[in-house]
Symmetry: D3
Subunit: 239 residues, 6 copies
């Protein structure tokens, strides 16, 4: 789903920059003679790489920030010199966010709250009419001023900055997302159908990792802790 | 303005394909494993070329139809094999429109009503949830079912096909459009300031062609005819 | 050799589509104004990736099917949006094979018969004059109607579909293939020359894996089983 | 048709380089680690540009020779640095032809015999197993040793160089060629149908230029001269 | 020669940015994680387009300024979104020059002094260690602080900005330049050899335009005026 | 630093080819009509890949030699067919070095003297005025005739071949190199600041590997051996 959300974030951002949404009224790629928008993508993982691909495709001036040298090298090789892959520091984030027309927040730490890399103070000093798409909103967001919105009412404005923070972004492109999910889950479903659930769980540790409850016992550690239940190792129950 | 409208048409179309707008819920570029949308662009001029550039950039499967072999060659050289540049016949339009997820109507005949290349019958037989952006709407549109809409309420649905027919599309990206217009008009303004209007009109025939009224006389033939006034050749008045 | 075969498959397919071979008489890349051929590549491994590179280079409309999401992502990143990388299901294979002008069968399971992914029924319903190149023919082929042919008489026709199923395809480009083989084997030969065979086998487990017979004993498990000999672990003999 | 022939010339050349045809047994693009074939294209017009597009697509090492600086600049801009666009002199032709694995003869002077740019002496000194495709064969060929062949028996060998000199190359891809011809002729046919032949000839000077005989008079100067008939200006007959 | 000078300007600029020359110590393309240099090219003609091609190739962040919308469109189509093609105004020049690490002055008005688009004031406010290459130096330069230098001592520093203003830049790559000149002049030389000078001058008006003196008379208007000689029309002398 | 040195090597080589340095007077990319320089890069690792990226960007004819098939495949995929990725043998090195205008020596064996792949005999037989940049000079160089030079006096000539062998090449672009080093070392500095050196060394084995001396004991094996000190395992001292 990160691929879908990353790709969608750019078309959401393009819309948020339109005049009627409160944005600066800029076309991401400009036109010959007129400057393109500066798009700053925080995080060079799956979300950020897919966002960069779309932003480059629309002709924007793209900066992508990450703390992994390996990720920066991969981005540099994949996009040639069409994105600036910059090492992420507090300083670099501030410099580029304040120059940005569109910021994509794409930093997700699996199973943890996203770090608040864009602060209230940044938002106050961003250009009027600039926009921010917080793709990390499902994990609390990586922008201090962001709170979840819906596809019906996707944006709100703080300090003249348009915020797009739709939870479950992939829902807007349900057809594409459904196929993507099917492709990812089909191998497990075939295993379940072929072997039955016990044997499938025994043979496939990825499937086992996804098991939350069995025989009335909570078999996922994080869920057990969060809800104050006893945790039981699923392999014990399968034996 | 055709460049702005052509580029914007793709982001308008991407939005029109979202589920909440009544669209098929497709991401233009798909994701790895899932098919991209088929975008059919009618007309390979300024609007169509700019639309194609954006659609290719977003990873769509792009077909562009035109009747000029020279235009098709130019498109083929510019986009390599990333667009299919097809000779436009009634047959080709029907085939590709019926397979399309998104149709861009970009056929404009300067100073004349646009031809209705996409018919009511096509619309009836298009895929449910597909979308159409009629960039030619300012000249009557090149789709039989299109009528002008506004940025506040940009789309409507006919036979399950989402129509985006905003008149004055470039208004949504006012900043980009303003700079683009400035760039196009600045040379004339400098001439007017440097020489005065009489000398500027005398020396620059493009400027003269744009003169509509002078000394109370209508100096533009088309306007004179349309409004039933006497036409006076501007060079007579300038002498 | 998979690289050579994959690359050759497209020029073999281009030839098979010529009128004099019984093909549809299509140029893979079309020309400006005329549609390119649709090339469907089954399998996104070494054969398929190299075939895709050539098909894209000739301007064809390329679909590549694979069941690995990772492979699809790699193909998407490598070819940008010049190939459609689609998740392979029975349904997807049928849809794309029936629309294809050229099918490349590139599914090889090392050490096992290739799965018959293109069926007799598919062949019957393919377009007349379409062509199929079965690169997996050395392992039995991944097309139900395929049987091995030679460079002297490379094609035959079943149900109006041209079949190119030359065993040992790389033989046609002997010079290129010889250098490719040399490059792959030279490091082993240098080791054998420098150290003698015993020491070389001890130090290089890839070389050891290639040992089939030693001191009259069969040291390759699969060969021993297939021919009903006793298997002896080569490390025992080397000690 | 030059587009079709130019594109086909590379797949014809690829086949001519195969071992079974007497060629060097080289894959045009090589494989990683093994050198690609050197393809030398004489003439940077429609034939040469289309040939270059295909040769680059297959990964060959491409040199294109032309005497027009404008053509060389256009090729350089279109192909970036993927072809070497070299000014054509007797010296340059000799140097590159002798180093070539595949030569494409694409020099056509409309309405005149093609110049013999590749001489018997060149052929004698070319690499054994190299190949030559003479696209100009319909106008006598631009290679001294070339004579027309057919799709049934397309190649012959002179001094160990494989010659492919099929007259009417586009016939092999009849479907693509037919559509291409239709696209080029359709506008004239519509005019003829709409206006009748007299009015159509009067209004369209390209159509008029194609008129060879009218009212029993030869109206094409070159034909009249070649066949020793009186030439009559068609506009006189139309009046 | 503009092509050679335009291409060389970027490698001259790269050297001028090295620490030992007094430059900022920046690599034009940066490395993954580190920002590339901003290269601002004034003028989108032959010099500027060739400079842009090299700067893009080295991975710099490239802005090109021109006053022709057509030139900007051509640059946008040729370089995709790898350069920002901006309409040139006094304002735009100031903004981009002050942000630049390297400025290429490529504005040449044939037969006239180049306009001083970069002023002393700009130079004062440019970043310390930034560099400027004035390709227009042979026509007086387009930078107020520039004066001609030599290949032996190519640079000097004004207000901490490194100036590279070598007159006759192509002399540094004499071999490439000689071939380029040969290619441009060979057709005339062949004509002179084939026809004699009188006939050649009569038939080729480009050659005639290059004639400066004949029979002791000055036949080039600009030279005659500049040196205060009588001008004689060459066609009179040829008659 | 290999990235910086690899990228710089091409601009150093471009300068070394200039006439005033004793070079052939060639522009790396040629111009339309004139052949580009042949750049031969020995080694396809970090140095070679970055050098190739720049050489391709400048339009040179690039050959890269390596002994790893995987590296050759990666280079082929990354650069498409813009570099020839050739398997490195003594034979291939000799052939390509003798044809080269510019050789980049980029073979570095970490912690060992670089192998002398380009011999005195090669240098004698290279083209007069060709150039060689030995990036491996900090480890003794991979060219028999190379010895370290400085940024003040970067080149010398042996047998008419210009040698550029500056030790510490990245020093010329100090700003870029400093940021690159910062990015690589910052994570360690933060750890040291957060945890103190003992805990940081305990938790991060990469940091520990970099420890040379602790409590008066040499904790780096290579240093201890080279300087004839007793080696003490750092984990003993940390305990």
């Amino acid at each position: 789903m990160s691929e879908v959300a990353g790709r969608m974030s750019i078309q959401a951002g393009a819309m948020a920059l339109e005049k009627s949404m409160g944005g600066r009224g800029m076309l991401l790629g400009g036109v010959p003679g007129v400057e393109p928008a500066k798009v700053v993508i925080i995080g060079g993982g799956m979300v950020g790489t897919n966002a960069a691909q779309m932003a480059v495709g629309l002709g924007a001036d793209v900066v992508i920030l990450d703390r992994s040298i390996d990720a920066l090298r991969r981005l540099n090789a994949q996009f040639d010199n069409r994105v600036k892959a910059i090492y992420s520091t507090a300083d670099a984030i501030e410099k580029h966010v304040l120059e940005a027309d569109l910021v994509i927040g794409g930093v997700l730490v699996p199973g943890a709250a996203a770090p608040k890399l864009v602060t209230k103070d940044h938002i106050k000093r961003m250009k009027p009419g600039s926009a921010i798409v917080d793709v990390a909103i499902d994990q609390g967001g990586c922008v201090e001023t962001s709170h979840a919105t819906t596809h019906q009412d996707p944006t709100y404005i703080v300090d003249e900055v348009v915020h797009y923070c739709v939870a479950n972004m992939p829902g807007a492109v349900a057809r594409t997302s459904t196929f993507a999910l099917n492709n990812a889950t089909l191998p497990y479903i075939i295993k379940l159908a072929d072997m039955g659930y016990r044997e499938a769980l025994r043979q496939d540790k990825h499937l086992l990792n996804g098991l939350n409850v069995m025989h009335g016992k909570v078999t996922c550690k994080e869920v057990a802790e969060a809800l104050n239940f006893e945790f039981v190792d699923p392999s014990v129950l399968l034996a």
